[in-house]
């Protein structure tokens, strides 16, 4: 009966987040004389990278909810 008083391990052991989880894409410096098209291309690549990180973070969170029984 006293065994019922034993502490149950109800704390879940979550995996560590991926290395880029929640990390922002750094803003590039802009200087006079930089090529406008090159700057636009670099900014667009950064934008795509930022979206990709958000998608991956969302997928990681969805995996956590799916595998660790988090409800709505």
């Amino acid at each position: 009966m006293l065994a019922g008083c034993a502490t149950s391990g109800d704390k879940r052991h979550l995996p560590p987040p991926p290395t880029a989880f929640g990390k922002p894409v750094p803003v590039r410096p802009i200087n006079p004389g930089d090529g406008a098209k090159a700057a636009l291309a670099a900014e667009r690549a950064d934008h795509v990278e930022a979206n990709r990180r958000l998608e991956n973070d969302g997928a990681f969170y969805a995996d956590i909810r799916k595998n660790f029984g988090a409800s709505e």
């Binding site: 009966m1 006293l2 065994a3 019922g4 034993a6 149950s8 391990g9 879940r12 052991h13 979550l14 995996p15 560590p16 987040p17 991926p18 290395t19 880029a20 989880f21 803003v27 802009i30 200087n31 006079p32 004389g33 930089d34 090529g35 406008a36 098209k37 090159a38 700057a39 291309a41 670099a42 690549a45 795509v48 990278e49 990709r52 990180r53 991956n56 997928a59 990681f60 995996d63 956590i64 595998n67 660790f68």
Partner: protein, 142 residues
């Protein structure tokens, strides 16, 4: 320090499991005392005490066995839950790693494309940002 707490915990658990053995011993002691010190009804009281001691002793055996079984079941459940957590964590970590690797490959590919484009623009000529353009662009998001 942990060893001391562990030992104390073990003693307390043993005492809790065998609480009815203590009562049985008390009954037996009472039986001996009744036999020795009560002149008339001592023998009858002693028999009752000994019977109660035997009964409590048997109950203690079952009680402590059940407590041990409960603890084993609890520990097994905790081990199972931990194993399930580890399995899920490994699965999630593998998925995250695969996504990170894909993202890294695509970022490198994008970076190469940007560099190629910049090289091509450097040869062909790009429209340079004026001081005002640069200031306005830097002000975005501030």
């Amino acid at each position: 320090m942990f060893e001391i707490f562990s030992a104390v915990g073990g003693v307390l658990t043993f005492a809790a499991d065998h609480r009815f053995a203590v009562l049985a011993l008390a009954c037996a002691a009472g039986g001996f005392a009744a036999q020795t010190y009560i002149p008339v009804a001592g023998a009858t009281i002693a028999k009752g005490c000994f019977a109660a001691a035997i009964g409590l002793g048997c109950f203690d055996g079952g009680y402590s066995l059940r407590a041990r079984q409960d603890r084993s079941a609890e520990l097994r459940a905790q081990v199972n839950a931990l194993q399930e957590d580890i399995r899920s964590a490994n699965l999630v970590a593998e998925n995250a790693k695969a996504r990170s690797e894909t993202a890294e490959r695509r970022r490198d590919a994008d970076q190469r494309k940007v560099e190629d484009y910049a090289k091509m623009l450097a040869k062909r000529g790009d429209c340079p940002l004026s001081r005002d353009d640069a200031r306005r662009l830097r002000d975005l998001g501030r």
